[in-house]
Amino acid sequence: MHSSRAALLLRTPDDLIARLAKPSPLLGEGVTSLSAGQFLQTAEALAAKLPEGRYALNLCDNRLHFLLSFCATLIRGQTNLLPANRALSTQQQLLERSPDTYILHDGLQELAPAECFDLGQCALGEFTATAATEVPHISLDQEAAIVFTSGSTGESQPNPKTWRTYVESAAINAHYYLPEFDSLYHAVATVPSQHMWGLETTILLPLFNRVCVLDSRPLFPKDVAVALESLPAPRLLISTPVHLRALNNSGLEFSEVARVLCATAPLSPELAAQIEQCFNGSVQEIFGCSEVGSMAARATASTEAWTLFSGLNFAAANSADGYAEIVAAHLPHPVPLQDKIETSDGRQFILLGRGDDMLEIAGKRGSLLQMNTLLMAYTGLKDGIIFVPENNDGVNRLSALVVFNSEGSKEGLKDHLQRHIDPVFLPRPIVAVEALPRAESGKLPRRVLLDFYRQQLGVS
């Protein structure tokens, strides 16, 4: 039998849950870290100050601000809306979708017209110490958050999750994230809290496990080095292949990291091995998607096969064509995977890759078909195509070959695309040509396209 509520956090009151890279006005000058007990007091105090509203569009950049406001909204029975980015157009889109929404932020300049609550302007004052705050219990059926993934056309896809889903998946995930459970890990993450990967690793993980998370989000390798050095061992680094590649190529020396967790895009075994050497620790790659969250893990430096998390299963009926569905007690319905898989025992599996249409760049998913539809919606074009060029070892970007008519221009096309496509999907370069090398049938085989593209680059 399930009880109908579950604790907001499961930590010993004096165990550290967060460290501050610099003072937060919310907590006052002298505060450099928060124990679970202090955290709870602060979250309760914040909950009492939050505006009314069914939804809180949570744009907090600082991780501790996010962690506090995430918990405070849950205490208030509100639902967090977590956008794929903090752009004004994204804010407006979510406000239109859910009118009973206020914006929760920590000093963001560009804000859509709505009720706004700025954590940076809010002082909660001293901890009242002594009296242990009772841990609030949240209804398992409460809609805790809706994570939005950006579609290639900019239209956000909602992934609503109940508190039950988060509590039960967090318990499973921890077994694969953490090498062992006794020590207090200090975590640095390069990913935003609003993204599913960041939410699971930097928000839910510390609520239920002995993890103390640093509040800053370092970007450059030097930032990461400084952040790691500021923390005691054992350390945890939560990141993505793009960030890890930059760290590996920086030539910097890093403090030891017991466990590096990587997700959002495929990690090569070579880079995984280099990262293990660089940090003198183990690299665990996690496979997941916004609909399910984390679902499988592998030690990429030595293993190709993924291990499906216990508690999750493939729905066998759908695996004939290579695609499978994921079922789990904490998921309300089966979730179809975007990748083809191959499995002999239903637990270990090999990823065979995406369907041809699906793209993933910087953790964002898009459809090539939709982007091409958008491209051709530009009235200044006779013909054109957006495509994935051959991998040149760097970050994968899309390219476009276009044939302008008399009204068309590169600037006009860029404006058009920028209005509708997430920046990571904007084709670069856009190469203007006289005509595309289409066959008489109108088809444009990939091999022909790539040869033609290479020639064009050589000419220009």
Partner: protein
């Protein structure tokens, strides 16, 4: 639009090469044009690429935690000045 200095031209060439910006040439990047957001439309992945190229070429490590670097990335002029100042200070 003001003229690029030789140091700015060198930095512009580094940007174009590091980011594969084949549809804009180094001389087309204005010293005060916004590199991110609406201007050149660069994003945080590009910022990492730029930081890597700068560390390899100039031996300067970018840091975003301090406000200096955040503003250093705004324009070609600011980026060039930041690298020159940091090289001297280092």
């Amino acid at each position: 639009m003001s003229e690029q200095t030789p140091a700015q031209r060198e930095m512009a060439e580094l940007l174009v090469e590091a980011l594969n910006l084949e549809d804009i040439t180094a001389e087309e990047i204005g010293p005060d044009e916004q590199l991110f957001g609406d201007g050149l439309g660069l994003d945080s992945i590009d910022a990492l690429e730029i930081a890597l190229a700068i560390s390899q070429k100039y031996g300067v490590q970018m840091q975003a935690e301090d406000e200096d670097t955040r503003s250093a990335f705004a324009t070609l002029r600011a980026l060039t000045d930041f690298v020159a100042a940091t090289k001297t200070a280092g």
